[in-house]
Amino acid sequence: MTLPLIVYRSLRQHALSTLVTAASIALACGLLLTVWMVKVQTQRAFVDTTTAFDAVLGARGSKLQLVLNAIFHLEASPGNVSNADYQAIKRHPAVKTAIPIAVGDNYFGWRIIGTIPELFTDVEYTRGRNYAVEPGGRLFDPEKHEAVVGSFVAQKLALKVGDTFKPYHGLNFNPNEQHPDVYTIVGILAPTNTPADRVIWIPIEGVQTMTGHDPAAATDVSAVLVQLRAPTAGMMLDIRYNRQGNRLTFAYPVGTVIADLFNKIGWLDQVLALVAYLVALVAGASVLASIYASMDARRRDIAILRSLGARRRMVFGTIIAEAAVIGLLGAVAGVAVYAGLFGGVAGVIRAQTGVVLDVTHWHPVLVLCPLGMIALGALGGVVPAWKAYRTPVAENLTPSS
C-alpha cells in the first residue's frame, strides 16, 4: 500500500510534468505502433489482394505498372492486348481462368472498368470469399448498358440501384469529355475491402464500344487476369511471353511483383521507423529530465521518508515505479494515439488504393511496444532514482541546532 500511495501522491504533486512526459511517451508509442502496423498490414492487405490471380497478361511494359493497373486499379494501362492474344491465353491448357478487363473511362474520377460477369461468379476475391451483390441488386447483363458499382464508390457518390449515369472519357475526370452512352445501375457490390470497392463495373463490350472510342480497338482488352492450373505453368508462360515474345508482358507471380514494390520502398519504412525510435529515445530522456529536475524539490520528502524508516532501496524503487507509471500512462495513451493515427492513415490508403487496413488486427507488437514504453520509462527513472538513493538524510531534514 505504501509504495503505490507514495507514487500516486508524487505523480499528483508533479501533475503537469507527469502529463507532459506521459504525452511525449504516448506520441512515441503511437508513432511506433502506427509505423509498424501500417507496414505490416499494408503488406498483408496488398498480398491478400493479389491472391485472387496468379498472373496478369498485358501490353509490353513494366510488370509493376501492369499489376497496379489491372489489380489495384492504379496507374495508367501500359497498352492493349489484342482479342487474339486474349483468346490464346484463355484457351491455353495450363490456364484455369482468364478474365479480361478494359479501362479508359471514369465517372467523376472513379474508374469504370469493363469485364465479364465471370469475374464475380467464378473468382474468389480473396481466399474463401466470393463477390456478392447487395440485396435488391444483381450483376450486369453483358448485353446491356448496365453497371455494378463498388461499395466505396456507391457510398461516396450516393449511387443506388436504378440510378443512371454517363461515363467520362479518360482516367481523370474532365467535365468536357462526357460520353453520350447511358448506363443503369443494377447492383451494388457488397464490401470486399479490396480495390474492387473503388470501381464501377460495366460489361467489357461497353468500354470497347463506348461512343468516341477507337473502333479499330473495339475488341482489344487492357489486360487479362489469369488463374493457373499449376505454378509450373507460370514459368512456362513467363518464358513464352517475356523472353521469347516481345509484344506482351506476363506479370508472374503477382505476389512477387508486389513484394518487389515493398522492397523498393523499404527505405521509407526504415526512415519512419528511425524517426519513431528517435521520438521514443527523446520520450525516455524526457522521463529522466522531468524526474531529475524535480529531485531537488523532493530531497526533503525523501529525507523525511528515510527518517521514518524507509530504506534506500525502497526510495530507489519508488522513483523507478513512478517513472514506470509515467511510461504506463504514456503507453495507454499511446494506444489511443495509435488508434487515431492508424485510422487516419488507413482512411487515406483506402481512399487512394481501396485496400482496407484493420485497426483491431492482432499483432504482438501491440503488446510489446507498450511494454517497451513502460520499460523505457522505468529506465529513464534510473538516474534520478540513483540520486534519490544517495540523498543524505540528515542534511535534508532540519537546520542543525
Binding site: D301, S307, L308, V393
Partner: protein, 229 residues
C-alpha cells in the same frame, strides 16, 4: 531498565576549511524506559547531530548506542532503518510533514515501515487524541503551525515507539502554543509509555520538565571548549 544507553560516542565532520572537527564526544548517557529528559543546549552545539546518531540517521565514528538492548552503532544501514522504524519516534523543529499527503496519510506513513504496517484506525485515533479528528483529510499546509506540530506528535507515536526524540519541537511556535505543544508531547509520551529525549535552547520549554541536563555537560568536546560552540 535503560531504553537508551550511550557509551563513548564520538562523531566528527570534516569542515569546509579542511580539518576534522569533533562535534559529539559523549562518554556516557542513558535513559530509562518511560523517563523524560530535556537537554539544554545552544544552537550549533551538536544536539541535532546527537539525536540523529541515536536515530541511526548518522553513523558514529566510534562508540555504542544501545536502544532497547540493540546497538544502533553496530548495525548495517538497513538494520538501522528498521530499528528506527520499530523503536523510535522523531519530532522535528520544522515538523517535516509530507506536504503532498493528507494529515491521516502522514501519520500512516509513520507506521508504514514498521513491523505492523499501516493501521488506519490507530492513525485516526492518534489524531483524535491530539485534537485533529476533523482534519484527517486536510493537507498540512491547510493547518496552523500548532496543528502541524500535533500531526508530527501523532506521527512520532504512530509505531508505538519505546523512545521519542524531539529536536527543538517548539522552535516554530509562539509562546502559548509552545507550552501547549510541550504538554501534549510530554503527556502523550507518558500515556504511551515511551521515553522522551527532548533538546531545546528555550528556558521556558525546559522549565516544563522535571529533569533537565546541560548538553555541554555530557558532550565532552563542548565542556573542553568551555561551553556551547
Amino acid at each position: 531498565m535503560s531504553i537508551l544507553s550511550i557509551v563513548s560516542l564520538r562523531k566528527s565532520f570534516v569542515s569546509p576549511e579542511g580539518p576534522r572537527h569533533i562535534i559529539v564526544d559523549i562518554p556516557e548517557f542513558s535513559l530509562s524506559a518511560g523517563q523524560q529528559v530535556a537537554l539544554r543546549g545552544e544552537s550549533g552545539s551538536g544536539k541535532t547531530t546527537f539525536l540523529n546518531l541515536i536515530a541511526g540517521i548518522l553513523a558514529p565514528d566510534s562508540g555504542g548506542i544501545l536502544i532497547d538492548g540493540r546497538n544502533m552503532a553496530a548495525l548495517s544501514e538497513p538494520a538501522r532503518d528498521r530499528l528506527r522504524a520499530t523503536s523510535l519516534g522523531y519530532i522535528f523543529q520544522t515538523f517535516n510533514l509530507l506536504q503532498g499527503f493528507t494529515v491521516l496519510e502522514n501519520v500512516e506513513l509513520g507506521m508504514a515501515f514498521g513491523p505492523s504496517g499501516i493501521d488506519r484506525a490507530r492513525a485516526s485515533s492518534l489524531l483524535a487524541h491530539v485534537g485533529l479528528s476533523t482534519k484527517l483529510h486536510h493537507r498540512p499546509r491547510q493547518l496552523s503551525t500548532g496543528q502541524q506540530q500535533r500531526v508530527a506528535v501523532a506521527r512520532a507515536l504512530a509505531n508505538k515507539p519505546r523512545l521519542v526524540l524531539a529536536d527543538e519541537p517548539t522552535g516554530n511556535l509562539d509562546r502559548k502554543h509552545a507550552c501547549e505543544a510541550i504538554s501534549l508531547i510530554s503527556d502523550t509520551c507518558r500515556e504511551a509509555g515511551a521515553a522522551l529525549l527532548l533538546v531545546s535552547h528555550d528556558e521556558e520549554v525546559l522549565a516544563q520538565f522535571e529533569e533537565t541536563r546541560d548538553f555541554a555537560a555530557i558532550n565532552r568536546c563542548l565542556s573542553a571548549a568551555g561551553g556551547a560552540s
